[in-house]
Amino acid sequence: MVYYLLRRVLFIIPVLFGLTLLTFTISHLVPGDPVMLVAGPQATKEEIAALAAEFGVDQPLPTQYVRYMAGLLRGDLGRSIMTRRQVADDLRLFFPATLELVLAAVSIAVLLGVPLGIFSAVARDRAPDNLIRIFSLGSISTPRFFLALLLQIVFGIILGILPLGGRFPTLQTPPPTVTGFLTLDAALARDWGALVTALRHLTLPAFALSLSMLATIIRMMRASVLEVLQQDYVLTARALGLPQPLILFKYVLKNAFISTLTVIGLYFGWLLGGSVLVETVFDWPGIGLYATNSIIALDFQPIMGVTLLIGIMFVVTNLIVDLLYGLFDPRIRYT
């Protein structure tokens, strides 16, 4: 187990190195000139050259890459041409917001998706199953930004029970930053009012973000449970007269959950990088929007920083998922 873990951690290094090389090459092969854009239309050639020299983008590409990697080894992620801020500072600022949102979305998807999937399988081809299937099909097909706008209008404007956007009310001061997770920071500060406020702000964007994952989990769980329910050991358990909840939650769920676990791992990484639309609609100051703005401006240091961070999160999440397989299926051994 330890050897397996060590080997997997060591594998992260070449993966991240490949990631930096790939991202660097792509962001420099795309035509476009961030320096010229930042310098503005009336900038003279001298001004453009001064700005390029300041950010080192006047150097040949291999030199730029070596410099970047040398900085990375020292923990320096570079500076954004657009905002002139340190990328590490920006990531510290924006990443916790996205992580909090994604964790909330994943929690909603798992906590609703798994029971609904099981229920759908148990009630196969009956009215509740059909309703759940229609819901999950609709959820997968609905564009996320459209759903986000719909939620805003219904819950924010018509019913007026949830905030339209943002992480905290504009006129209120949020709890002191410790982790960057507003909910956790509020709890740490024992400010329960702030915790409720932060959760209220989190509800709509997290739900909007979770929906396609929720639908996938429902469908995956339904299919897996249906498959497991056909197994001989389930028939035996039924023949022995074991109660249905015991059969479902003790014997079926564990075996059916493996494939859902894979989906959760994949979705987690995907949501980290793909939360931009929901962040935009709900003005969630997260990393998705930061990454998009950087990509549009070809501001390569933030692009590299975000890619690396999401890459690390992706690899680590998948490692955790791989380890969890063993928890749910003791036949899996790590060597």
Binding site: Q42, A50, T83, Q152, L162, L164, L171, P285, I296, F328
Partner: protein, 563 residues
């Protein structure tokens, strides 16, 4: 971990999260909106200002009275999609940065009215030498920076020289007529600026030249003239100071109690709230979560019509839109083809795409209302007979050419214009390839006429209220290779623009710009498009707001009040 403990852990996790969600949905109603909805007022057009008199000395400045302590805070919330990336007044550009700068800093003069006039601010009066080269400004005696030190002539000299040295931000507006010896201190409250050559719009660029506190900048100079520090700190004398700075989320200012200027509204603070989607801005104003939304589209305005408590403002601003043709490479080097396309284009369809009442058609290169803009200029309008006549004179009498139109990715209105163009060109048997690119890539294409597309749609916002701004940026040959004017270059036009900026007499300038407009229309480098209205929505609780057609979305908070 055994399977039983895993099961328990799973159950515990489920219970905790469900409880959390339950708490969230059962929580009390949101914080009350800052503005209570009230019956809607019809949007009132901005009154035309009275003719500006010669600048009169400002009355002796008295510190603004701080709002009564018992009064509820009056915090204005502005919803904007654009982040504040750089507060440094000498390097930060763009309307959102300008909005913050103009509220924490002061300039010698400021804009007021419609049409905009330059009025005194830190400078209570000024004189201009007969040759237009020497400007002497008398400063307000009681003006103070936020640390209590006086705003002196030396601070003015320091600020100009810092800008000239850094060569960034708004420096381009005056750099061609100044050098590091241009500004001299006469005494503590008198500063003299000697231009290296006459520059008629000089006064009109000064509202964007903010004065910094040299002591504060020097104390935080670092290795880059204080650029890093001033990005999110201020060294100003303006009516507000920074309270909260949360990049990507919100920027809060609070009223500086010792502000030197008398008057102003009752605001105790203001928040620039980043609200990226225009539809979210619209909802925020509708619900009362924001007082002003600054980036609305025509659809948003239509949606908000009749909303209780919301006042809609639509005014033409000095922001032109034209479709530039590649003057130096490809089929459009042929003037007859440019003319043919100019007459084939469906201008009415363009106006309809903008939505009823949201835009007007341009008449030539200058925006209506700006000095010298000719309202009677003869410009091409859709006339297929003329278009075909010109096509017959061109190198492509039967059409059969495929042209390219590249627009900014995600800018829906430019895509619509591309489709209108495609439809118009079909009538001349010309084909069009409509493509989108991100703005950075488009900027890169314009470096060289060979990579510049045949059609290049461009919005051009005036930074100062003078025809020189649009004329120089969009039609002077020296700007070739920049997106503002990738390829158009006619020595005759260049000469007119040069004369326009160095001639001081207004009547003479009007003649020059009249000739300039006729020349540009004659050369047909652009399909002159539309002048989109500035579209703002605000709660009717906002008082004292007046429209100025220069950067009206970079809101000045000082005069405003909240009910």
């Amino acid at each position: 971990m055994s399977s039983t403990s895993a099961h328990r852990l799973f159950k515990l996790f489920a219970i905790v999260t469900l409880l959390t969600l339950l708490m969230a949905s059962c929580a009390p109603a949101p914080t009350p909106a800052p503005a209570a909805p009230a019956p809607a007022k019809a949007a009132e057009p901005t009154k035309a200002p009275e003719p500006t008199k010669a600048p009169e000395p400002t009355k002796a400045a008295e510190p603004t009275k701080a709002p009564a302590p018992a009064a509820a805070p009056k915090v204005l919330i502005v919803a904007s999609g654009q982040d504040i990336s750089n507060l440094d007044p000498h390097t930060g550009d763009g309307y959102s940065n300008r909005a913050m700068q103009r509220n924490v800093y002061d300039a010698l003069v400021r804009y007021e009215g419609n049409p905009p006039k330059v009025v005194p601010n830190l400078a209570e009066s000024w004189t201009i030498s007969a040759d237009g080269l020497e400007y002497t400004f008398k400063l307000v005696k009681d003006a103070r920076f936020h640390d209590g030190s006086p705003v002196t002539a030396e601070a003015v000299r320091y600020s100009f020289n810092r800008s000239l040295k850094l060569k960034k931000g708004g420096n381009w507006m005056f750099a061609s007529a100044m050098d590091e010896n241009s500004v001299s201190v006469v005494d503590d409250t008198t500063v003299k600026i000697r231009l290296t050559k006459p520059f008629a719009p000089f006064l009109s660029v000064l509202p964007w030249m903010f004065i910094v506190n040299p002591k504060v900048v020097e104390a935080n100079k670092g290795q880059d003239e204080g650029q890093t520090w001033l990005k999110d700190h201020e060294a100003g004398s303006g009516p507000f100071v920074i309270k909260r700075w949360e990049p990507g989320n919100l920027y809060e200012l609070e009223r500086f109690p010792g502000y030197w200027k008398a008057g102003g509204g009752n605001l105790t603070g203001a928040i620039w709230k980043i609200t990226r989607e225009t539809s979210s801005q619209r909802l925020a104003v509708q619900k009362g979560d924001a007082h002003i939304a600054v980036d609305l589209t025509g659809d948003d305005m239509d949606f908000l019509k009749g909303s209780p408590g919301v006042v809609l403002i639509e005014e033409p601003e000095f922001r032109t839109f034209s479709i530039k043709m590649n003057y130096q490479n490809g089929p459009f080097t042929d003037i007859a083809l440019r003319k043919a396309v100019s007459y084939a284009f469906d201008y009415d369809a363009m106006l309809a795409a903008e939505g009823e009442g949201h835009a007007v058609l341009m008449r030539g290169p200058l925006p209506p209302g700006i000095l010298g803009a000719d309202p009677n200029l003869e410009v091409p309008r859709m006339d297929l007979n003329k278009a075909k006549e010109w096509l017959a004179k061109s190198k492509y009498p039967n059409g059969g050419v495929k042209l390219s139109y590249i627009y900014v990715s995600g800018l829906e209105i430019e895509r619509k214009f591309g489709l209108i163009l495609l439809d118009s060109l079909k009538k001349l048997n010309l084909d069009l390839d409509v493509k989108q690119l991100v703005w950075t890539d488009m900027v890169a294409l314009t470096k060289d006429p060979k990579t510049t597309p045949d059609f290049f749609p461009v919005y051009q916002t005036a930074n100062y209220a003078d025809p020189d701004n649009i004329a120089y940026a969009a039609y002077h040959g020296s700007q070739n290779g920049n997106w503002s004017n990738p390829t158009y270059n006619n020595p005759k036009t260049n000469e007119l623009i040069e004369r326009g900026r160095t001639t001081l007499a207004e009547a003479e300038r009007i003649k020059i710009y009249g000739e300039f407009q006729r020349q540009v229309v004659e050369d047909a480098p652009d399909i002159f498009g539309v002048l989109e209205n500035r579209k703002l929505a605000m709660r009717d609780s906002v008082l004292n707001w007046k429209f100025v057609p220069i950067a009206s979305n970079a809101i000045e908070f000082f005069p405003l009040s909240l009910k």
